[in-house]
């Protein structure tokens, strides 16, 4: 009797939760679906009253317009190069520093780490203007080189990896390696790096997505129209009064596909990593 009552009272509650969650999923996924609808129709069809709500056959035509208007593949290649170089360097710089902070006691360690955590609080906007001046002194304004150094100072990555190494890499293992004569860099390369792969892959996606989606800094520093990143090129599609929305949405779609594919492949690990980081970070 009691069991039956509990079961009956529990099932509708779970159902309500699922209904609300499914509605939320629809809201969160709708822009992706509607982007495809717009990108596969003509602007006239979309802006008819009532609008066309189904997929059309104009995708290739719209894509061709995008390719005529902006150097899509050129800017995609630029973005890919910048995001890849940034990601690899962030992983290397951050893991090396995180290892030193996690497993070694050297004079000034606490102070330096406290400084690093303090840096995480500094809003980057304060630095944008002098960064621009610095880049123009170096003669890097307008080049892709200018995008990489500011993205390398990723204090969050060190903070996060340090915690992971401290708990995830046993001291006994490092001691054993030391007895075998392995120095600091051998331990880093042969023991630590292989052991922190999950943490590295989370940081890799985090850094890559961040670099891929960055907008303000490339907008400021990339003055040469031949050297744009994808986001800046995309924003340029949108300029003007008579926007061909189907064409613009085809561009949005083309620019979003690679990232959404990468994210859905690695999503499970990424979200697990984000959850872990959030708990530890708070």
């Amino acid at each position: 009797m009691t069991a039956a009552v509990t079961r009956r009272s529990r099932r509708p509650k779970g159902l309500t939760a699922h209904i609300v969650l499914v509605l939320a999923v629809l809201v969160s996924v709708f822009p992706f679906v509607w982007t495809i609808v717009m990108a596969t129709n003509t602007t006239q069809d979309i802006y008819k009253s009532p609008p066309k709500l189904t997929f059309g056959s104009q995708l290739l035509e719209n894509v061709r317009h995008v390719l005529d208007t902006i150097d899509f593949f050129g800017s995609m290649l630029n973005t890919l190069v910048v995001a890849t170089v940034t990601t690899v360097l962030v992983l290397f710089v951050d893991s090396l520093a995180a290892f030193a902070f996690a497993k070694f006691d050297f004079p000034g360690r606490k102070v330096l780490f406290a400084m690093l955590v303090g840096f995480m609080m500094l809003p980057l906007q304060l630095a944008v203007l002098p960064q621009f001046i610095l880049m123009s002194d170096l003669g890097w304004v307008g080049t892709l080189k200018a995008l990489i150094p500011p993205a390398l100072a990723n204090a969050f990555g060190i903070f996060w990896l340090r915690q992971y190494i401290e708990n995830g890499v046993p001291d006994e293992l490092l001691d054993a390696a030391r007895i075998d004569g392995a120095g600091f860099f051998r331990q880093y390369w042969n023991i630590v790096l292989p052991m922190i792969k999950p943490a590295l892959s989370f940081l890799a996606i985090y850094a890559f997505v961040g670099a891929w989606n960055d907008y303000i800094w490339p907008l400021v520093v990339l003055t040469d129209p031949g050297h744009l990143t994808l986001q800046v090129a995309l924003a340029q599609l949108h300029v003007g009064h008579t926007t061909d929305y189907s064409m613009v949405m085809a561009g949005v779609l083309m620019a979003s596909v690679p990232l959404v594919v990468v994210f859905t492949i690695f999503a499970r690990g990424f979200i697990a990593g984000a959850t872990e980081g959030a708990v530890q970070g708070s």
Binding site: A17, A24, P31, A100, F104, Q131, Q231, M249, L259, A278
Partner: protein, 294 residues
């Protein structure tokens, strides 16, 4: 010292890059705030003049108001919605992974793509929202020209992007609460609402505090949304849309520093804004802390 040279070598790339490209620039911008400089000619020390001008600049204050309104309109529904969704997601058994991924997806899309999308959907004359309203006989709503609706659209955009992110953080917090506490509450006859307010909320308070602070810092820095939405550029006098209703402080900073080449004024503005953000962070922190005592 010397015996640890390898450790110092290992941490030096970060500190060198950070020093040159972040730390030094932050303080150099403070120095710039006391100068008049267009980036080309000679620098002229003007003391507090930039800040005095800032204080009397109506556009600056309007940008502050715009930023604060957009921030409140987006943060409140984002954090509330995230908490509700996280609680629901925590309670279900099936499809957990799917929900998490689908609800987090908005946060990895680019802000440029999302802004363009919202611009199309809320377009005044033909956008989807007005088309749907039209089918039920409501005349078109001027989403992108009414000063309040402009802010509302930007806030909706930010809510769409950040609810899933905060939900993941809350979910992590909920998963860390031992289930025994809930079982004990159930034995004592506490219903779901009471359990939520008397157990879940107090335990979650540090995590809620964390998200409030992060949302304050992120939410006050809105720039790309109005910049892309209204195609704001050098040739566009209506920076931030009609009536400049979407002109946020960072957008105004961008205009002053990089369009008008008024480096000193831009630096003063961004520093004043930083102080304001810090004040709001402290106020929010106090508010959430005080809630704990009562």
């Amino acid at each position: 010292m010397l015996s640890h040279w390898r450790q110092y070598l290992a941490i030096s790339p970060f500190f060198v890059v950070f020093g040159v490209f972040s730390f030094f620039p932050v303080f150099y911008s403070l120095y710039l705030a006391f100068q008049r400089w267009d980036g080309m000619g000679t620098m002229e020390f003007v003391g507090l003049q930039q800040f005095r001008f800032l204080w009397t600049d109506p556009v600056f204050w309007m940008s502050i108001r715009n930023t604060l309104v957009i921030w409140v309109l987006s943060t409140v529904p984002t954090l509330f919605g995230a908490l509700v969704l996280a609680t629901l997601l925590h309670s279900v058994r099936r499809f957990k992974g799917f929900y998490r991924i689908a609800l987090y997806l908005p946060n990895v899309t680019s802000i440029v793509a999302v802004s363009i999308f919202f611009g199309a959907v809320f377009s005044n004359n033909f956008g989807l929202v007005n088309a749907i309203l039209g089918t039920v006989g409501i005349s078109p709503v001027p989403w992108l020209s009414n000063p309040w609706l402009i802010k509302l659209v930007i806030a909706l955009l930010m809510t769409w992007m950040w609810t899933g992110y905060n939900m993941i953080i809350y979910l992590a917090g909920l998963q860390a609460i031992p289930t025994q506490i809930y079982e004990a509450a159930k034995l004592d006859g506490a219903g779901p609402v009471r359990t939520f307010f008397q157990i879940t909320m107090p335990i979650m308070r540090p995590i809620i505090l964390f998200t409030v602070i992060i949302s304050t810092i992120n939410g006050l820095q809105s720039f790309s949304e109005p910049q892309v939405l209204f195609g704001s550029n050098a040739a566009n006098p209506n920076l931030g849309g009609p009536g400049q209703a979407g002109l946020t402080t960072l957008l105004y900073f961008y205009q002053s520093a990089f369009v008008n080449n008024d480096y000193g004024y831009g630096a003063a503005m961004v520093w004043a804004f930083f102080v304001l953000i810090m004040v709001l962070v402290v106020v929010n922190w106090r508010l959430v802390q005080r809630g704990r005592k009562s």
